[in-house]
Symmetry: C2
Subunit: 158 residues, 2 copies
DNA sequence: CCTGAATATTTGAGATTGTCAAGTATTGGG
DNA sequence: CCCAATACTTGACAATCTCAAATATTCAGG
């Protein structure tokens, strides 16, 4: 019997396939809503993502590239465009003159806040679920993602 | 009590926020794996998505644009590149000479199949869950997404 | 102190994705 | 037959992304 179960979960398990399909739908929906919310603030998806990160704290260009999993030269362009619109500024890093800190301006932070509020992926789909169901969903997603959800320690070098 | 529950689910509900956060993580993970799997077959994400759809059945350019939620002229370019690599071909539609059907070639279908197999978002994260848990997750995702997920059934409803 | 490797950022070239407007071919109703 | 609608392509342009090369700065050794 063990072999049968293994084979069933290994390949063409209809349940797993359906879950993957559903997750694909969630991903598509999430993306569409994010792009639309960004567009309503005259931002592209990439710009909204960067601005969202910078609204929390100033970040060196290099680290931003790591967070976005892209080349640093790409971040240069995105920050350029945000800076040209007064949403972001570059500051020197006092402790290392090679580093430039990208930081949201006052206007950038308020744009980021409005963006977050208009991003109601939370409300609409989750409203279908009861409190208990949401807790179950949270636990299942946690287990699915494993423990690595936590931030990697920023103090120690990677 | 009703008012309290309403307020709690309306704004800054920590449970809903955490679920949204987790979904964001799932989205990021899914995307990263998809792009990587595509890249391993020398495809971009957009090309992989189109090829995946075409591996099922030929589709008019117009409908492809609707599925991808983009302009038809964009599909032209993506299919151009896939066609230049012999993965896709354009066929006339016998019933309407305005229409061009994009169809995967033999090689295109086999590439799409290998791509699907290497896309193991299914196996790794879902392996953490038991059969029952996966079923619960499926039902919660279905409810969350509403009924619109289902294909218009030809025979019985879902 | 000086040299050289390593690091942080930018610049420039080029590919891809995406939009929009305009052009061509075909369909179908009046 | 005519004309609006439809399907697709083309061309121009912006944004995102990668890669290689250039610049500035740090830091470790001699």
């Amino acid at each position: 019997m063990g072999i049968l179960i293994l084979m069933a979960t290994q390949r063409t398990d209809p349940l797993a396939l359906e879950v993957v399909e559903l997750i694909g739908t969630v991903v598509a929906r999430y993306h569409a809503e994010y792009e639309q919310a960004a567009a309503e603030h005259a931002l592209t998806g990439a710009q909204a993502r960067v601005l969202g990160l910078l609204s929390m704290e100033p970040i060196p260009m290099r680290r931003m590239a790591q967070k976005l999993k892209c080349e640093p030269s790409n971040v240069t362009g995105i920050v350029d465009r945000l800076e040209a619109r007064g949403l972001v500024e570059r500051r020197p890093d006092p402790s290392d003159r090679r580093v430039k800190l990208a930081a949201a301006t006052q206007e950038g932070r308020s744009t980021a806040r409005r963006l977050r509020e208009s991003l109601d992926f939370a409300r609409e789909p989750l409203a279908q679920l009861t409190e208990v169901e949401r807790a179950v969903l949270r636990d299942l997603l946690r287990r699915m993602l494993g423990e690595e959800t936590a931030e990697p320690p920023s103090a120690a070098g990677s």
